[in-house]
Symmetry: C2
Subunit: 445 residues, 2 copies
């Protein structure tokens, strides 16, 4: 029987860093990673397969990092776990023994009971090379694509598909795209860019029916409208893969694996991380639905470090992410104004817009808009939302740091920043400190 | 007699934000800003006048922000201060009364007693429009330029001047350019880019003599070499402008105005900020020579807020800045390894290099190198240095946040980050967390 000190089940954004972190913290342990996929796609890169990078081959995670870290790769399906005997059972009933186990089983795209959903050319965002290759191939003969779901996956797909010259429509049941993540003004700006590039946004409406014979040829909306569609892509979210944990008797709640702050499950030798676990909010301590690759990697770095000795604790997820529409980055860390208000915080907002260069005559100059949300009762930052050029992708992590360390508006107003004419706002106009100052002024009013 | 509640002397990176901050915190006060320059140059943008933006006009700070904040602009020289009667005396002996005064008098370029320094076509980095226009004009007839000083000002000038097609040499007395700011490997990378673009770097050598009749035509180095030069630019640092404060009896030490953590001088009604003050290090609490526009703005936001009520305290300067050589950004926050060792810290370093995109096939993909320095005794971060694409300009501010809040390597290893294929590393490869993990591994060895 094969024996490992550590077995990781799952080889994506949670499994890989869990394995690497385990190796870094426990250099003498034997580690195996079991996954069923021959090749692993970069999850966040999947929309870009359909435009910018143009093939699944260009969006793979190399297995080299596993080799370099002396992690045995077992390409097989973990069919069962025996927590008492500490065994993972794979195909042909082979048993592999572990001392510590990490479940990083991820999630599966949600499907809906829509009539016609089984027709040809209806796709979900499956993290599977051959499935996506099939979709790529079908797109070659397509003209009209309907994307169901205007979340950031749906928006990124729509933006990439229109770059292929396709007629793209987004169907979103809320009144704007990206509404679960962003305050309305940011959603409207993103929609404006999509529309300017020819994407049709059908909001405040549901998809009722997928029409056609074998293949989809139209969709019908809840308001009666009918839209031509050669391809339908469903991007409305995911559900955690919990069957393996559940059948092993590991505690499940709200459709997710229960973990504590150390990422330990109800079985002390089994840890879990990534999309398959339930998460609690950094702000409220209550469960949150956030599922992001960046959260998976953070959790996996806690799990991997804690396997044989508790070293790390995670205090709840903040939720930090970026998306791009055409060339404009939209990013958020923590709570938007709307979300903070919904949680009954007494909210103060500071919002600024300033160039990302100084002087404004420097090449590449464009405005960055930044909105910070503070808790009026103690001045602490609750969140930040930014829109602008590429560097917003890193700026949002500065805001995440401020949130993680519960900085107040006053702390941020005297932030020790670095600037340069070619790559940031001027130190006088720097967005972060000015947004904090504007919020402070409102707090005293 | 004109009377103001608040007078600011100086109108650049310290004076302007001091005035704006005062306005934000004390909306009903009358404020005047006195400066002698008709037009104010963006200080950090000065090198770019000589290449990228190509004129002083394209590098001015607009006075609109003063108008918008109801700050009276007095273009005149503050010749004297009477702290007892609380008066500023300007030209024609006009006295203007203040309740609170902010000295933001800045600094003056250092000159050296080099034989021949008074010859025509020897320039310093004077923040003066007509002076720089004269230099611009003289450059039109120049072929060979020698830049004395390979600090970041000198390097930026050299890089811009070579873009004009000039033969540029840098004379640096240390063994590498940028050595006061960066660890050696980063200096070498910057030098390699400069050399590849035709800049001649003459290191480990002094400028002994400026040769020529009225005009410079050559320079002579301490090793006897002679280099042709139509223009010499001296960029070796600045000295604080303290004469006004000194003559008013305000305490001066080490050639700078003494301020406390509230930016208050020895006179309780007089605050000071920016290049004219002495600064203490965030790390050691001891005086530091750091002089940056970004430090000036931070200090001015402390001074401006504290004028009538102490609201802010500044805990010493970290030193965060970025520079760019051709298209590569070099940035540092806090201490480099060499500096930390010189201060007798027990240092652990984590260094990584990873793409700024994921997958690496995304457009604009290039590597970002990041080196973090930690204090082995308590795990706290002491500094970070990064090299790479534009977004490094914002990444360095995330590191600054980590330093300001004394995050440990373990905190940073479980940093809650946001990523996106088009604008950052993958969450698996994210430079910040991986550099921290590598340092942790070394700490336990």
């Amino acid at each position: 029987m094969r024996k490992y000190d550590i077995i990781i089940v799952g080889g994506s954004a949670a499994g890989i860093p869990a394995a690497i972190t385990a190796r870094r913290h426990y250099p003498s342990k034997t580690i195996a990673l079991i996954r069923k996929e021959k090749q692993v796609l970069i999850p966040c890169g999947i929309p870009y397969i359909f435009g910018t990078v143009d093939s699944t081959d260009n969006n793979l995670i190399s297995d080299k990092v596993l080799e370099q870290n002396k992690i045995d790769l077992i390409i097989d399906e973990a069919k069962q776990i025996d927590c008492t005997s500490k065994l993972v059972i794979i195909s042909r009933d082979e048993k592999i023994s572990y001392d510590k186990l990490v479940l990083a089983t991820g999630s599966t795209p949600l499907n809906l009971p829509i009539p016609g959903i089984d027709k040809q050319n209806v796709f979900v965002v499956e993290k599977d090379v051959s499935y996506l290759n099939k979709m790529l191939q079908r797109l070659n003969n397509a003209k009209n694509v309907v994307v169901l779901g205007g979340g950031f996956i749906g928006v990124e797909f729509a933006d990439e598909l229109r770059k292929r010259g396709l007629n793209v429509s987004i169907v979103e049941m809320l009144s704007h795209c990206l509404m679960l993540a962003f305050d309305e003004s940011f959603c409207q700006e993103a929609e404006e860019i999509l529309r300017r590039n020819g994407v049709d946004i059908l909001a405040d409406v549901r998809l009722d029916k997928i029409l056609g014979d074998d293949k989809v040829n139209q969709i019908q909306l809840s308001d009666g409208r009918v839209v031509d569609a050669d391809i339908v892509l469903i991007g409305i979210g995911v559900r955690p893969n919990i069957a393996l944990a559940e059948s092993a008797g590991i505690e499940i709640r709200n459709d997710g694996i229960v973990v504590d702050a150390h990422m330990q499950t109800s079985d002390e030798n089994v840890f879990a991380c990534g999309d398959c676990t339930i998460k609690k909010s950094f702000f409220t301590g209550k469960p949150t639905n956030l599922k992001l690759a960046s959260i998976a990697t953070m959790e996996s770095r806690v799990a991997g470090a804690n396997l044989f000795e508790i070293k790390r604790k995670q205090e709840g997820v903040i939720g930090v992410f970026s998306t791009i529409v055409d060339n404009t980055v939209f990013a958020v860390a923590g709570l938007g104004e709307k979300q903070a208000c919904a949680l009954d915080y007494n909210v103060v907002v500071g919002e600024v817009e300033a160039p990302n260069r100084h002087p404004g005559k420097m090449p590449g100059a464009t405005n960055i808009k930044l909105k910070l949300v503070f808790n009026k009762s103690n001045g602490e930052i609750l969140g930040g939302t930014a829109r602008g050029s590429d560097s917003v992708g890193e700026m949002i992590n500065t805001i995440s740091a401020c949130i993680q360390k519960k900085m107040t508006a006053n702390d941020i107003a005297q932030f020790q920043l670095g600037t340069h004419p070619a790559v940031t706002a001027s130190p006088i106009a720097y967005q972060l400190v000015n947004a904090a100052e504007l919020a402070i002024r409102k707090m005293s009013q």
